[in-house]
């Protein structure tokens, strides 16, 4: 187990550095001077450009710039952004919280709605509810989030006025983006839950338990649920990392002030330190969660050997 963890952490570090190196290389070959302008229609004074290039080491070769980034990253320093010249960690801090709020809300919805729907569908197989869940989950997967977002905005924000059209960070404005972000994952969780439940229900040990005359409730909670939850937990763990991708577009639709939205804006402004910062966070969260999920999985299911 210890060896396995060490090896996995090693792989994790490789992935993190590989991903940021790729990003660095891409940003490096981008046309346009990252400190050449600030937006608007005026070019920056060449003297200022020169000063900033020196200050941020932009005149150095790619390898050296990347080296500086890594050295600072180890110290927890992501550098200064190019417009306001503030610490990237300070700029992204509140945005990271906002994204976490959105992602957590989405996960809660995934778990509650997804697992409940899957459970009902599996327990009452082929009933009206089963068909309904199946139909809805299939439909949900076919709706891109910007279509769902458009429907929500026009119906619930503009027509009915239940929610603000544009997020202001309040709980009320969290609802539409959270539901949008959660819908597809909730559908997938429901499908997964239904599938594993059916499989477990057919398993020999469940049949044995029932044959032994154990009460239905005991069988359900002690055997079926516990074993069905494993793959669902795995999936949710992995999807949390993937939520950053979904958050990118959800935040853009609803103007939610998170890191996904910050990324889109930073890309427009070519504010490289912010782009690198967001991707660093995103990739780090993704690999760490993957590792945790694998470990958790191994602990929940002793049949899996870690080698």
């Amino acid at each position: 187990m210890g060896k396995y963890v060490i090896r996995r952490i090693g792989q994790m570090v490789i992935v993190l550095f590989g991903a940021t190196l790729i990003l660095f290389a891409c940003l490096f070959v981008l046309p346009g001077d990252p400190v050449g302008s600030l937006g608007g229609d005026k070019a920056r004074d060449p003297a200022v450009v020169q000063e900033l290039r020196e200050r941020y080491g932009l005149d150095k070769p790619l390898v050296e710039q990347y080296g500086n980034y890594v050295t600072n990253l180890v110290k927890g320093d992501l550098g200064e952004d190019y417009t306001q010249r503030r610490q990237v960690t300070e700029v992204l801090g509140p945005k990271l919280q906002n994204t976490a709020k959105l992602a957590l809300a989405a996960i809660v919805l995934d778990v509650v709605i997804g697992m409940l729907a899957g459970l009902i569908a599996a327990l009452f197989r082929y009933s009206f509810w089963d068909v309904l869940v199946t139909l809805l989950t299939t439909l949900a997967i076919g709706f891109p989030s910007f279509v769902i977002g458009s429907i929500f905005q026009s119906q619930f924000a503009v027509k009915l006025g239940w929610f603000p059209l544009i997020s202001d960070g309040s709980f009320n404005s969290l609802i539409m983006p959270a539901v949008t972000l959660a819908i597809i994952d909730a559908a997938l969780v429901a499908r997964l839950m239904r599938g594993t439940m059916l499989e477990v229900l057919r398993a020999d040990y469940v049949k044995t338990a029932v044959a032994k005359g154990l009460p239905r409730r005991t069988v359900l909670f002690k055997h079926v649920l516990r074993n069905s939850v494993i793959p669902v937990v795995t999936y949710i763990g992995i999807s949390f990392g993937g939520l950053l991708g979904g958050a990118l577009i959800t935040e853009a639709i609803f103007n939610w002030d998170g890191i996904g939205f910050a990324l889109v804006t930073a890309i427009q402004q070519q504010n490289n330190p912010i782009i690198v910062g967001v991707v660093t966070y995103g990739v780090a969260v993704f690999v760490v969660l993957n590792l945790l999920v694998d470990l958790l999985y191994a602990m929940l299911d002793p049949r899996i050997r870690l080698s």
């Binding site: 924000a157 997964l192 991708g245």
Partner: protein, 308 residues
């Protein structure tokens, strides 16, 4: 969009089953594996609906100039934001262009980007997979780590970075989607082929003394191909959503190009005022994605009917 890709990730590893609403009849005895799969697929109503939707999409894309009522680029600044009417079935946009014709032409981008990017992704995945298999240990490890790196980028973020470097346009969109989906694609191709190889009936056929070529042609091939097709159907759906999302974010194809994501994006300013602007392209994209999802589901269920 990463949602569908994600669904595939753990889905394939943990055998994610789905219920289909069609009825499954037991296959008649003594029929080839091919026939059996086709029979089960055609018996699934949703799958057939999906197939019809996908065929309709291809047909629309191919015959766009015949179906469209107007030039999708022609502007009429005297008739902007007009509601749907006899002349403009889906209304006109902020530049007075015919929305119906733009929705119809939009199918071309969807088809081209969806198919080309997944084809490329499979190609990269297969080539690297073959290299890994041929050279073995070290190369295999290196390739797997590279795949990990690409896998760790959320699809949209990776694609945006590539497009920034290459500029906007159809080719950059295709390439960027391929570059950031091959890792997912190759993982899943690998696992679906492996899982078929290990199945009981193959072992059984071997034990019964069937020849290797017979096993491959009659048993492994149909199942593998159907599994791959199912997966490809999902992936094409994912790619189409991702492509539209990129355009929606303003980094996909050029804004004057008739494309669904573009149309929905430019309708944002008129939200609640001119809702027809986003509704028609939305319906088009939903039907398209559902078509591919139904086909993918149908194929998977046809392979593995015991979990319905």
């Amino acid at each position: 969009m990463t949602e569908l890709a994600k669904s595939q990730g753990p889905g394939a590893a943990t055998a994610e089953p789905a219920a289909a609403t069609g009825t499954a009849e037991p296959a008649p005895a003594r029929i080839t594996q091919w026939g059996e799969i086709r029979h089960r697929f055609m018996a699934n109503r949703l799958a057939v609906v999906g197939l019809v939707l996908v065929l309709l999409l291809f047909l629309t894309a191919a015959l766009a100039p015949l179906i469209a009522t107007h030039d999708p680029y022609a502007q009429d600044l005297g008739n902007t934001l007009a509601s749907p009417s006899g002349d403009h079935w889906f209304g006109t946009d902020a530049l007075g262009r015919d929305q119906f014709s733009r929705v119809i032409y939009g199918s071309r981008i969807a088809v081209v980007v969806g198919l080309a990017s997944i084809f490329l992704a499979c190609l990269i995945g297969l080539v690297l997979g073959a290299l890994a298999g041929y050279f073995g240990k070290t190369v295999d490890t290196v390739i797997m780590r590279i795949a990990d790196i690409f896998f760790a980028f959320p699809l949209l973020i990776g694609a945006i970075v590539i497009i920034l470097v290459m500029g906007r346009g159809v080719m950059p969109v295709i390439l960027s989607l391929a570059i950031f989906s091959w890792a997912t694609v190759s993982r899943l191709l690998r696992s679906s082929i492996l899982s078929v190889r290990e199945m009981d009936y193959v072992t059984a056929a071997k034990a019964l003394g069937a020849s290797t070529s017979r096993i491959i042609i009659r048993h492994i091939m149909p199942n593998s191909i159907a599994a791959v097709m199912s997966f490809i159907a999902f992936s094409v759906g994912t790619a189409i959503v991702a492509e539209a999302s990129l355009s929606y974010l303003g980094v996909g194809v050029s804004p004057e190009v008739p494309e669904w994501g573009n149309m929905i994006s430019s309708a944002r300013d008129f939200m609640g005022v001119k809702d027809f602007l986003w509704m028609y392209p939305s319906v088009a994209i939903v039907l398209t994605v559902l078509g591919f999802v139904f086909v993918g589901d149908g194929l998977r269920d046809a392979l593995d009917p015991k979990l319905r």
